[in-house]
């Protein structure tokens, strides 16, 4: 794992989990941000893997995640609405 980039490129959260590693040992890992669920392979281009080169248009803040609307909305339970 590339320890120097253990920060989510998209939301800058610092808890990153490993989802998979390459069947050929040591070629790549698939990492995931525990907060925004952004998922990336460590050998992807810098525009997808590094916070400083990640496109502004796709960056997320904690508020973006918390305030995201539900689609579809959870319906009322029958008999309790």
């Amino acid at each position: 794992m590339n320890d120097e980039h253990l920060e989510c490129p998209r939301c800058a959260f610092d808890t990153i989990t490993q989802l998979a590693s390459s069947p050929v040992p040591g070629v790549w890992d698939v990492l995931q941000c525990a907060r925004c669920l952004y998922t990336w392979r460590t050998i992807e281009p810098a525009r997808r893997t590094r916070r400083d080169t990640y496109p502004e248009a796709f960056k997320l803040t904690e508020a973006d995640i918390e305030n995201a609307i539900e689609v579809p909305a959870v319906p009322p339970l029958i008999g309790r609405s």
Partner: protein, 475 residues
């Protein structure tokens, strides 16, 4: 001929010169998606792509762009590879009339060979997952045929739905799932969530080419996709029983993923570069827990690149959007000649129709907006005369330029429903819709100066054939 699985279709594509094997080592990103993206930039008869040498993988087999040209779409329907698109749509409409064709149950499905269950489920060990577009939130399953049942009527075969939805892999055994409110699975989920119950679901990957076409087809709620596949194939669709859910799934799938949509739960999803040519996402979506994965030995992972049109998605859902609209309109208005709904899954539609009386074409346009598919699409309708081919865009542009008096022939209706992904909607899910009536007015609509049209000469058809013959004989 009818294909029972993806592999037999890939064999045919290869024999017909419509499958390209990339044997050099490629990177999973950005190579796989960039190559599939490029198929849409090299002309109309691009091949399917097959990769089996991908950096870091030991055992990856990836098929892309399987439906991504008119040649491949024709072959999927068992037609000659050079069949013109209008003829493909007409043949599709002709076969529709055989609906329903009962499926054939076979319980020796090849995906029964291998199984992962419970804590052993690891989608990354079965599928060589990869990213499609730069801004995508992760790796997606975007060409699956997803099976669900109506919780209030679980034994109704017709209400069992098979559809294609975007599915983000958010864990070894977890998926985020997007049910668009207009789609059948959203109704199934709402009924389950109203009762506080999980909704069982089966996700099938790597299917025969007609299964992918019917899964993306706007059909009525109680119409079975399997019975439509039988009609389009000209042979019963082979189905098998999924071991965990008991749902009917394609016999020939490469991979069958079973689990539940967890009741009343939402989690951040996306974004994902969509068929609209724009990303959508950053919303909280339902979540699937995967409980069982069944798969063929050496599974082929089929995926689809989509982004700014045209991409494979546009070929896949072009004809299958035209034909249901044509059939639904003709049921009430036999004057309708042809429907071209190939632009962004029918967000824009061109309809050619004869006119019963003045104002009739506008009524046809309004009816298109109120078909089941129209409730989520058909934001713009262009009506053309019965002798204008809606698939011939220069003819359509002529009709618009010569026949339209904008003040009276352009009608805008505010605040109608549209799918939330439509980029121009405001707010999401609400849009105005427009009718452009480019037909020739007929009585009592007496506007304009159309009494002396310059039609093709009576002898032109004969000369057309003669010129074509003379040109062909030169070679």
């Amino acid at each position: 001929m009818a294909y029972d699985d993806l592999r037999s279709f890939l064999d045919t594509l290869e024999k017909e010169g419509q499958l390209l094997r990339i044997t050099d080592e490629v990177l999973p990103e950005p190579d796989l998606a960039a190559a599939a993206n490029a198929t849409g930039r090299i002309g109309e008869n691009a091949p399917a792509l097959y990769f089996d040498n991908v950096n870091g993988f030991t055992d990856a087999r990836i098929a892309l762009n399987v439906h991504g040209s008119w040649a491949n779409h024709a072959l999927a329907l068992g037609l000659p590879r050079n069949t013109p698109v209008k003829e493909q749509v007409e043949e599709f409409a002709r076969r529709w009339d055989a609906f329903p064709v009962a499926p054939e149950r076979r319980e020796d499905a090849p995906w029964r060979e291998n199984t992962q269950e419970g804590d052993d489920v690891d989608l990354f060990s079965v599928l060589p997952l990869f990213r499609l577009n730069d801004g995508d939130g992760g790796f997606y399953l975007d060409k699956a045929a997803v099976v669900s049942r109506d919780p209030e009527d679980p034994d109704d075969f017709g209400k069992q739905n098979v559809g294609t939805y975007r599915i983000q892999v958010i864990g070894r055994d977890r998926l985020a799932f997007q049910p668009v409110p207009m789609h059948d699975v959203a109704q199934h989920l709402r009924k389950a969530e109203e009762r506080g119950e999980d909704l069982p679901i089966a996700i099938t990957l790597g299917n025969d080419p007609v299964m992918a076409i019917v899964a993306g087809m706007p059909m009525a709620y109680d119409q079975s996709e399997y019975e439509m596949a039988g009609a389009l194939r000209g042979a019963p669709a082979p189905i098998a029983t999924a071991p965990l859910t008991g749902f009917d799934v394609p016999w020939g799938s490469e991979v069958v993923i079973e689990g539940v949509i967890e009741s009343r739960k939402r989690q951040i999803e996306g974004p994902f570069g969509e068929f609209t040519g724009h990303y959508s996402g950053g919303r909280r979506m339902p979540v699937i827990r995967v409980d069982r994965v069944s798969y063929r030995a050496n599974p082929v992972f089929e995926s689809l690149y989509l982004g700014m049109p045209w991409t494979e998605c546009d070929y896949l859902v072009g004809p299958n959007t035209c034909v249901p609209l044509l059939k639904q309109l003709r049921a009430e208005f036999p004057e309708v000649q042809a429907v071209n709904a190939m632009y962004t899954h029918g967000l824009m539609v061109i309809i050619s129709t004869a006119k019963r009386y003045g104002g009739f074409a506008k009524a046809v346009g309004m009816r298109a907006m109120t078909t089941p598919h129209g409730l989520g699409y058909v934001a713009q309708v262009i009506l053309v005369d019965e002798d204008v081919d809606p698939f011939n865009l220069p003819q359509v542009m002529w009709a618009m330029s010569a026949k339209v008096n904008p003040k009276d022939d352009v009608v805008v209706i505010p605040n109608l429903s549209v799918l939330e992904l439509a980029p121009a909607a405001q707010p999401a899910g609400i849009t105005s819709k427009m009718i452009i009536d480019a037909t020739t007015p007929v009585a009592p609509d007496v506007r304009g100066n159309f009494s002396t049209p310059a039609k093709d000469l009576p002898e032109t058809a004969e000369w057309t054939a003669r010129l074509q013959r003379l040109i062909a004989d030169r070679h």
